[in-house]
Symmetry: C2
Subunit: 181 residues, 2 copies
């Protein structure tokens, strides 16, 4: 009972923490956001954060998972759309987390936690894309390769500034080249 109440409080506090961290990471970037800054925003001492998360990287992972669940929740809504629209949707979904995408790649070599998260993430995404492609009649091996390509294209578009027309042309070409018929 009381134990339960405590656990609820913990969740609430973590939620508060992560949403603040997420906001700052997205606006100031990961490197531009110090633990002290997050703490100041929350009105607590800097080292308080370390009671909840063992490191800044683990806090980042928590934020990433948060963002991902939010995105995942919207996933059923695009079930019926054609491949190109699905990719456009993914792009738009990740656009606000653009900063974090490159941060994750940059920290891969330095943080085991990030590395694990990244691997899991790609497994998940690629599985989803493969599923879509196979549903559209693409053979399994080919679908796996195309899923990787599609991911690279989305990441490339996220990392580099580009025009609406460029994006449109790339997605269009990929959809046409990837799908049979």
């Amino acid at each position: 009972m009381a134990k339960n109440k405590r656990e609820i409080d913990l969740k609430v506090k973590q939620e508060e923490l992560e949403s603040t961290a997420a906001r700052l990471f997205l606006t100031l970037g990961y490197d531009g956001t110090s633990m002290s800054r997050i703490a100041r925003e929350l009105g607590v001492a800097p080292n308080t954060l370390y009671w909840y998360y063992p490191s800044k990287d683990e806090l980042l992972v928590a934020v990433l998972n948060r963002q991902m669940s939010a995105t995942l929740a919207r996933l059923p809504g695009i079930a019926g759309l054609p491949l190109k629209d699905k990719m456009a949707w993914a792009l738009q979904a990740f656009e606000q987390s653009r900063e974090l995408v490159t941060t994750v790649h940059a920290r891969l070599e330095q943080s085991a936690v990030i590395r694990e998260w990244h691997e899991q993430f790609h497994h998940f995404v690629e599985a989803a894309v493969i599923h879509t492609l196979e549903a559209e009649g693409v053979a399994p091996a080919r679908a796996a390769m195309l899923a990787t390509v599609g991911t690279f294209l989305v990441e490339g578009l996220l990392a580099h500034p580009h025009s609406e027309a460029q994006r449109e042309a790339i997605l269009q070409w990929f959809a046409v080249s990837a799908l049979p018929d």
Copy 2:
């Protein structure tokens, strides 16, 4: 004369500095390499580096240019190769600088110098790829779009671990899908 000698010494010193920095950046990563570490390796005081380069980012740019000229020097050797082989060559050429590729992307938002270098770099690379594609009979607009795609694929392959077979399949598919006939 004497002035000239000084300038030669400057170049020599810079060369020494940049090769040391390059070695450390490539083995320890950009973030993992402190200015003090580079200085220690050279046997000078840390702030000495700041007489030659106004910031760590500018030193990185110097290193990047160094790596690029080295790569550029090998470029004529692949003039006659088919598209797929050219991309494989590019991948192999940049593989040792893999760390730096993600570093550049991560620092885009924080450093104007890096941003400028990155933009220039992409202009250069895409121009080269477009030239190749047009020579193979691809229409200009389409060549521009494919150059971007090709770049994204190379960057994706550099950033993510993959098997030889995966790389081969992706490059093969891209070459076939991109080129007419």
